[in-house]
């Protein structure tokens, strides 16, 4: 008799959601996590500094309600954050839900063009969300099963949704989703900071530039839940705490400081997990929140066919977003930024070409000399003020590796770049934390520190995510499932991968 019905390896957002969902469906679940904290990348921080993720824009209400968290929970109902595109001449541009404004409150001339384009992409996003809330289409063994029927109905629904857009809009959709963001933006908007923001929002976390075909899909993905950006009350860890609480309420056993070393098999069926400290936990189902490559290493390659191993090895995951946390001397306003914008999302991406140029060095394993930056001013639990920034591009395979001097250089570049709009920022800084991909990888297991665990490119999406033949969450031996960001629909603090995986595991139950 097994100790548990299911084991989830890795207590990140997707692991917590997968485990909780199973728990709520009556399974006896254990979630193991190698670090002391649950929440994975979402709440990872160094020495009490700001967390790796610092805002929510794509969290799935469906995943939340499936684990018993009210999407309107006080922690989650924070005020939407506006985005500020930082300008070097002090004329910052503010993006609100209803349009684009100059920092003095007057309407920006490109406001309606921006709204039209974003609204169109949000419409497309809501159509595609139907696909995100279920396993990727294709790969059903029999069409006449319940799953096959459901899939057919879902696709039919998508088809009807597309038809409802009208003929010309449907054609446009089929063209736009395959396009590159550079062309789509510049067809409707002049080159400049408004276009630059859209370009930046299409490339966060991924190893692509605005000119790379397929980047429109990334932008649509980001806008898939409406594109509203919020910050949870109490920070990202408040959200992950909420998820931990939901897991406990669902009866899950949470085991921190427990690292899996091997997935145990019995006659090509999963029987449990062996931990690094020599313990054995048994269960007939294992959901792995780890990347496919690590998961396959834990079972040993012999249980997979050679094709699967080749495909797993070829999954691309080169993280490009580094985290640079700048500790501020005090809570005084940032230089060059109006007081009322202090707590908004700050972006440095003055043009599409700037974003593309920032990407160039990353292709050759160099860091950007002029990076694209997203920054939030945050306060940590100890009351300290920080500028929490995501800096792109800083490739995980940097030539020479992420040495201390490389990190120092990245921090310096970050401050210099931000100082172009926030003059004298350097004088406000009292300390720095540079968290690069190698560190993210060793702390969270994400391959290449990639926040989607596998590059979000057209050849690694939907039926091809994480790889051809593996899109339906089950993997290799009976009872083994993947539930991490590498699976369909992908990463971000979204939770759908974990939710879909848990449902797939339930469906596979005899």
């Amino acid at each position: 008799m097994s100790q548990f019905d299911a084991i989830v390896i890795g207590g990140g957002v997707n692991g917590l959601i997968a485990g909780t969902l199973l728990g709520r469906r009556g399974k006896n679940v254990c979630i193991i996590e190698k670090s002391t904290r649950f929440g994975g990348m979402a709440s990872y921080s160094v020495d009490g500094g700001p967390t790796l993720a610092h805002s929510l824009y794509n969290l799935s209400p469906r995943a939340l309600s499936d684990i018993g968290i009210d999407p309107q929970h006080p922690v989650l109902s924070g005020k939407p954050v506006s985005t500020v595109s930082l300008s070097e001449d002090g004329r910052h541009i503010v993006f609100k839900n209803d349009g684009v404004y100059w920092s003095d409150g007057t309407k920006h001339p490109e406001s309606s063009a921006w709204s039209d384009l974003t609204q169109r992409l949000i419409t497309y996003g809501s159509l595609l969300r139907q696909l995100a809330e279920a396993p990727a289409p294709g790969g059903q063994k029999t069409v006449l099963s319940r799953g096959g029927l459901n899939e057919f109905l879902r696709l039919a629904k998508l088809g009807i949704g597309l038809k409802k857009l009208g003929k010309s809009e449907m054609r446009r959709f089929l063209q736009v989703v395959l396009s590159n963001v550079h062309d789509i933006i510049l067809d409707d908007l002049p080159e400049g900071p408004v276009a630059g923001l859209l370009a930046a929002d299409a490339i966060w976390g991924s190893a692509t530039g605005p000119r790379s075909p397929g980047t429109v899909f990334n932008l649509i993905y980001r806008l898939g839940h409406g594109g509203i950006i919020t910050q949870p009350a109490g920070g990202m860890s408040a959200l992950t705490d909420l998820m931990v609480e939901a897991a406990q309420k669902a009866g899950c056993v949470l085991m921190p400081k427990t690292e899996a070393s091997r997935i145990l098999l019995d006659n090509d069926t999963v029987s449990g997990v062996e931990t690094t400290d020599g313990r054995t936990i048994t269960a007939p189902i294992v959901l792995s929140n780890l990347a496919p490559k690590i998961t396959s290493q834990m079972t040993g390659p012999s249980v997979f066919d050679i094709e699967t191993i080749r495909r797993v090895r070829n999954i691309r995951a080169c993280g490009t977003a580094a985290k640079v946390n700048l500790r501020l001397k005090d809570n005084s306003p940032l230089p060059g930024l109006p007081e009322q914008l202090a707590n908004e999302r700050l972006i440095f991406a003055p043009s599409v070409e700037y974003v593309e140029a920032a990407f160039n060095p990353a292709k050759y394993r160099q860091m950007s000399k002029a990076p694209v930056i997203e920054a939030f001013k945050v306060q940590t639990a100890d009351g300290a003020s920080w500028l929490s920034t995501i800096v792109q591009y800083a490739p995980s395979d940097l030539e020479g590796g992420w040495t201390e001097s490389a990190k120092e250089k990245l921090a310096q570049t970050t401050v210099e770049t931000l100082s172009r709009s926030l003059p004298g920022l350097g004088d406000h800084i009292s300390g720095k934390q540079v968290i690069t991909q190698d560190q993210i990888e060793s702390a969270t297991g994400a391959p290449g520190g990639h926040w989607h665990h596998a590059e979000m490119a057209l050849d690694q999406l939907l039926t091809l995510r994480p790889a051809n033949g593996m899109a339906r969450y089950s993997m290799g031996p009976k009872g083994l499932f993947q539930c991490g960001a590498a699976t369909h629909p992908g990463g971000d603090v979204m939770g759908l991968a974990g939710r879909n995986a848990a449902l797939a595991a339930l469906e596979a139950q005899p």
């Binding site: 790969g139 063209q175 590159n180 062309d183 067809d187």
Partner: protein, 545 residues
């Protein structure tokens, strides 16, 4: 109106696609006129003598994609077309070595093993994958692309054919196909090979003619676009047309004329005439006017719609979509008359690979960097070059003992950046010469004596290609080959089946599905669409004559 200036169909532009469409229509018994702005025919499939004794294939320079169905239908061999395959090719290194590509499988395997044993083993899997994709795509080239938003029986039929073909591969292969179509040639090669030189050699076909880099998603498809042809059934083989690429156009023209067709050269279309949403004919630059109920334009979609039709005749959203159609100039061309065969110090004597395509790119990074230069409006510091010496095989191209060399150069921007200003106007003699010097430097990696061998050299920047041939921005495909501009999206969504919003107006050039290359498929497909839509029982509808 006299009978002399009335036709059943007028084709605007005597490129190989225009001629192909015209030849098919003439064979169907129609009275067809082809009008051409230049004094010669052929468009970008042309042979010209710019220096006495030498013949240049000025634009396109090798042949493979020409659909064999078309060659058969139009009896091109009878009208003088001979295509001679060449074997192999090579990439030279900067330290006097080379990687040779042989069409003989065993020789190729031995050569690969010289650079990497692992890659020699991997080649089989690689070529199988490519071949499978070629087999999958070939049947679609001479079919219409279905409109997914339409419920017309023909569209549904074509869609069903697509689904059947795709599904027929089995789910595993279908996944591989989807992946192949959406990935970059760089990633695809990285999955198979480890050696930089081998990868660089194979990657070239993934970027030729496009505004994409080797790591841009979708370039694996572009590679396919260069592999899906054949010569005498040898899929993926390339060859020279005897007499240069103009021989192809000349053979199609001869076939056309033999079936009663007329070609009018020396005056381009000034305006495509239309009234009440129906095409009426064309007015030429020399003042002549010809009438016909059907006009097929061999010009690219932008030139056709934005320069030669009244905007008022077209719906605004269509014009906007055409304006947003991406046609990017990315390549240049050097045609060189050589006094004798240049010296390739690295190559063994009497080797066959010098008769093929020669390159000097060292790695995928070098190719990707060449693309980065282009993005900001400069020609590549280390351009990708594809050079061939066809006179080794075809003695008609140069005097005895002398040779002719064709050098394709990528990347070269249309809007050249000089002193902070990006404009096509910046292409002047000085800039062209400077670019040629860059290319000659790059070429001397393979043949250091190249500069001494030059008797005459023609340098064509994207601007010259645009001015002479008429291709917008000098783009050789009449439009980027990216997913958003392929298949049912080509040229613009909703208009992928050759007809345009003015009744009787058709597109028969490479802007239409399936796209560029000396393939003839858009021309043949357009002719089929015209015959289907415009005739009833073999007679033109609504045409009294």
């Amino acid at each position: 109106m006299t009978v002399e200036n009335r036709y059943d169909v007028i084709v605007a532009g005597a490129g190989h696609n225009g001629l192909t469409a015209a030849a098919y229509l003439a064979r169907a018994g129609m009275r067809v006129l082809v009008v051409e702005k230049n004094d010669w025919i052929g468009g970008a499939a042309v042979s010209r003598s710019l220096h006495e004794g030498w013949t240049y294939s000025n634009c396109s320079y090798v042949c493979s994609l020409l659909r064999r169905e078309i060659a058969r239908d139009l009896e091109l061999p009878k009208y003088g077309l001979q295509v001679i395959p060449y074997e192999g090719g090579a990439s030279f290194t900067r330290d006097a070595d080379y990687f040779a590509y042989y069409s003989d499988h065993n020789a190729l395997k031995r050569e690969m093993a010289r650079h990497s044993a692992k890659d020699a083993d991997a080649y089989r899997g690689y070529s199988q994958a490519i071949m499978r994709q070629c087999r999958f795509i070939r049947p679609f080239l001479l079919r219409d692309a279905p409109d997914p938003a339409s419920l017309h029986p023909r569209d549904l039929g074509e869609l069903a054919y697509l689904v059947k073909k795709a599904h027929g591969q089995g789910s595993r292969e279908l996944g591989e196909t989807l992946k192949f179509w959406t990935m970059s040639i760089g990633d695809f090669l990285d999955e198979h090979f480890e050696n930089d030189l081998i990868k660089a050699h194979l990657a070239g076909s993934g970027i030729i003619g496009t505004g994409l880099g080797v790591y841009s998603p979708g370039t694996a498809y572009v590679l396919l676009h260069h592999y899906m042809g054949d010569i005498d059934g040898g899929i993926g083989a390339w060859g020279f047309a005897r007499g240069g690429m103009g021989a192809i156009s000349n053979a199609i023209a001869a076939s056309f004329k033999d079936h009663g067709g007329t070609i009018h050269t020396g005056a381009g279309v000034e305006k495509i005439l239309s009234k009440d949403g129906r095409v009426e004919g064309v007015a030429l630059e020399d003042g002549k006017v010809f009438y016909a109920p059907v006009v097929a334009s061999n010009m690219d979609i932008k030139r056709t719609v934005l320069h030669h039709i009244d905007a008022a005749e077209l719906p605004d959203d269509f014009t906007k979509a055409v304006r947003n159609f991406k046609i990017r100039g990315s390549s240049a061309k050097l045609n060189i008359a050589l006094d004798r065969f240049p010296n390739f110090p690295a190559a063994p004597e009497h080797t066959s690979f010098l008769r093929g395509d020669l390159h000097v790119s060292q790695s995928l990074f070098e190719l990707e960097k060449a693309y980065d230069d282009w993005k900001v409006g400069r020609w590549s510091e280390k351009p990708y070059i594809d050079m061939l010496i066809p006179s080794q095989i075809d003695p008609t191209m140069a005097p005895t003992g002398a040779h002719m060399m064709t050098v394709f150069v990528q990347y070269a921007p249309y809007d050249l950046e000089v002193d902070g200003v990006r404009s096509a106007e910046n292409w002047n003699e000085k800039q062209r010469t400077a670019m040629a010097e860059t290319v000659l430097d790059q070429m001397s990696v393979a043949c250091p004596d190249i500069r001494e061998r030059v008797v005459h050299m023609e340098v064509r920047s994207p601007l010259e290609i645009e001015r002479e041939v008429g291709l917008t921005e000098g783009n050789i495909f009449q439009g980027e080959l990216t997913f958003d501009q392929l298949f049912f999206n080509r040229p613009v969504p909703g208009w992928s089946q050759y007809s345009l919003p003015i009744k009787g107006l058709y597109l028969c050039g490479s802007s239409a599905h399936p796209g560029g290359g000396v393939m003839g498929a858009p021309g043949a497909n357009a002719a089929r669409a015209i015959l289907r839509n415009e005739t009833r029982h073999g007679r033109m509808k609504g045409y009294a004559a």
